[in-house]
């Protein structure tokens, strides 16, 4: 009944002014046992499946770099570096790796700890601290959070092709943190602080939807070689998944990641709502290139508050 009312209310008073849903979305699940130099070749082969047109375009890679702590917290630097080189080989005019860590104010410390620096030696690959970039006021294209507008980094807004590169993790407030939640990192700390507490006050799920409506994600490369389960995104435990998930639709990517984790994507609040306008959630509208997603056994462990996420097939 509540769901029906919600859909009806959304029809009469839509909370979003855009829709990025396509008739069909494509996802590829790549098998990778570990992080090695082989990742780049694997990624290149995977990207070619999508026939992306990035020639001459300004590509922004948005990894998930959070803390200078050990463990599978950050997107692996070898995957970030490999992705940057792959997009240059595909003809991108410029590749920028941009991140605004949400907890740690010293971005250099996070970049060092993530071991990203060696990959920045290539002059064509630049890192931008999104917490301190030039800011532009943006009217949000959805109104779930009632924020109305946000100041966002010019580097993000000037990019032609945004690639969200999350680490596949559980999250103690959002349930999961995947390509959509990863976009919290474009919100600048110098204005909104460390952490970006205003987004929490306006609702994590709601803020995710509004940010992703306003800064569309064009492609996803999700690092699930070593993922995180339990009390993520910082204090969880490593879970070897052995997968990299690629997708031309962030909702399809996150739904696929959630299924791999053993979760029902419809039970992740922001993912369920995102399926109405940010991309395709239902399996029948997602074409898998290569291996089909097989949920892991047992499903990813979660805090007791999130047991409801686990798919009923388990």
């Amino acid at each position: 009944m509540a769901a029906t009312t919600g859909v009806a209310a959304d029809w009469f008073w839509p909370k979003h002014s855009v829709s990025y849903r396509k008739p069909c979305s494509f996802v590829a699940i790549l098998n990778a046992a570990d992080y090695s130099e082989k990742v780049e070749a694997l990624l290149m082969d995977g990207l070619r499946l999508f026939r992306l047109n990035v020639a001459g375009r300004r590509v922004l890679l948005k990894p998930n770099l959070v803390e200078d702590l050990p463990g599978p917290i950050n997107t692996n630097a070898d995957i970030i570096g490999a992705a940057a080189r792959c997009f240059l080989r595909l003809g991108a005019a410029r590749v920028v790796i941009g991140e605004g860590p949400g907890h740690q104010r010293d971005t250099e410390l996070v970049v060092q700890a993530a071991n990203l620096k060696p990959h920045l030696a290539d002059r064509q690959i630049q890192f931008v601290d999104l917490n301190r970039d030039e800011l532009v006021r943006v009217k949000l294209k959805a109104n779930y959070s009632r924020l109305g507008g946000l100041w966002l980094p010019r580097t993000v807004l000037d990019s032609d092709f945004v690639v969200s590169m999350p680490k596949i993790k559980t999250h103690h407030w959002a349930g999961v943190t995947l390509s959509l939640k990863n976009m919290f990192g474009i919100v600048p700390g110098m204005k909104y602080g460390w952490p970006k507490n205003l987004l929490h006050w306006h609702g994590i799920h709601e803020s995710i939807l509004d940010i992703c409506a306003s800064v569309p994600i064009h492609f996803v490369i999700a690092d699930g070689i070593t993922a995180m389960e339990g009390n993520g995104p910082l204090q969880g435990t490593a879970r070897d998944l052995g997968k990299i998930v690629l997708a031309d639709d962030p909702v399809a990517a996150d739904a696929t990641c959630a299924r791999l984790m053993g979760f029902d994507p419809l039970r992740v609040q922001h993912l369920s709502d995102a399926g109405r306008f940010l991309g395709n959630l239902k399996a029948e509208r997602i074409t898998t290139l290569g291996d089909r997603p097989e949920p892991v056994t047992p499903p990813f462990s979660v805090l007791p508050e999130f047991h409801y996420l686990v798919a009923s097939t388990h």
Binding site: R105, D106, L109, E134, W151, M190, W194, P195, W201, Q235
Partner: protein, 300 residues
């Protein structure tokens, strides 16, 4: 030429026509980088310092606070940093008094009885005592460690010679808030010490800045433990910003910092790799520790 002098010349070249500094070379002047640059350039660029100070004074909002960057209109955490900057002179009494009033009015959202009640009854995932509040990064959010610490330093400095009961009370509350948010092993992170029953680790920069705010307080076991943690961690840190704040903090606790300064000078080189002007300015201040009046010192 000494390292700090070379860095100061680089920072001078990066000043915007408006008199301010951006973080990373854009034309958008930011209040944190401008405040730190004005503090750092003192004797090396008197004209630049005057222009920077005038730029800050022009940017003060009607409510007495400063926005995080020019173009925004919402007063924010950087107000404390500007007050620290203006406190290094004996001038600008009106601007400083208005800044103090803004800081006295601003409080974390848990300062309101309704949200205190909510945090005490319903929202207990993060362990903290909502009765002890400080300052937020931006209005309508809760208190966090770094903005609270800068606010404490600014208010302590400004009211050192004539402290009213209201200021004293706010300082006490802010100090208690910092001590309440300390990590289990000592030190501070953004302000979440225990989440879902799991202790979170401290951050170098937050610990260094929090300790600056507590420099004139009684050396409680928590402060001593935090100082020990910072000393140990700073011995290996390779990031310029965190190392610079460590030096500034350890110095006021009369800990030896010469080795750390030497490492900082080596790490930073001629400074051209340091594109963040706030970091560059902080490094200059750290390298000059002991040679100039410490901008974040609090008189006892």
């Amino acid at each position: 030429m000494d390292s700090a002098k070379i860095l100061a010349e680089l920072l001078l070249k990066r000043q915007l026509r408006s008199g301010g500094w951006s973080y990373f070379g854009s034309r958008q002047s930011c209040v944190e980088s401008t405040s730190l640059a004005v503090l750092a350039l003192g004797r090396d660029g008197p004209n630049a310092t005057i222009a920077g100070t005038e730029h800050l004074l022009r940017s003060q909002e009607r409510d007495g606070g400063w926005p995080a960057f020019i173009g925004d209109v919402e007063s924010a955490w950087v107000t404390a940093l500007v007050l620290c900057t203006l406190n290094t002179t004996s001038d600008f009494a009106v601007a400083r008094e208005r800044a103090l009033q803004w800081l006295m009015m601003e409080r974390g959202r848990e300062g309101h009885w309704f949200w205190r009640w909510k945090f005490r009854i319903a929202d207990r995932d993060v362990r903290f005592n909502p009765d002890k509040y400080g300052w937020p990064w931006s209005p309508k959010t809760v208190s966090w460690v770094i903005p609270s610490a800068f606010s404490l330093v600014a208010i302590k400095q400004y009211t050192a010679c004539n402290r009213l009961a209201a200021s004293e009370e706010r300082i006490r509350l802010g100090v208690e808030m910092l001590l309440d948010r300390a990590c289990v092993v000592g030190g501070w992170n953004s302000g979440n010490s225990i989440v879902y029953g799991v202790p979170l680790p401290p951050h170098v920069e937050a610990t260094a800045i929090a300790l600056l705010a507590l420099q004139d307080e009684e050396r409680t076991p928590m402060i001593r433990m935090s100082l020990a943690w910072l000393k140990q961690r700073s011995a290996t840190i390779e990031a310029v910003e965190s190392l610079a704040w460590s030096i500034l903090s350890l110095f006021v606790y009369q800990e030896p910092v010469e080795d750390l300064k030497a490492r900082l000078a080596t790490l930073i080189g001629d400074g051209r790799e340091i594109r963040n002007n706030a970091t560059l300015a902080t490094a200059i201040l750290a390298l000059r520790c002991g040679e100039m009046i410490h901008p974040f010192v609090v008189l006892r």
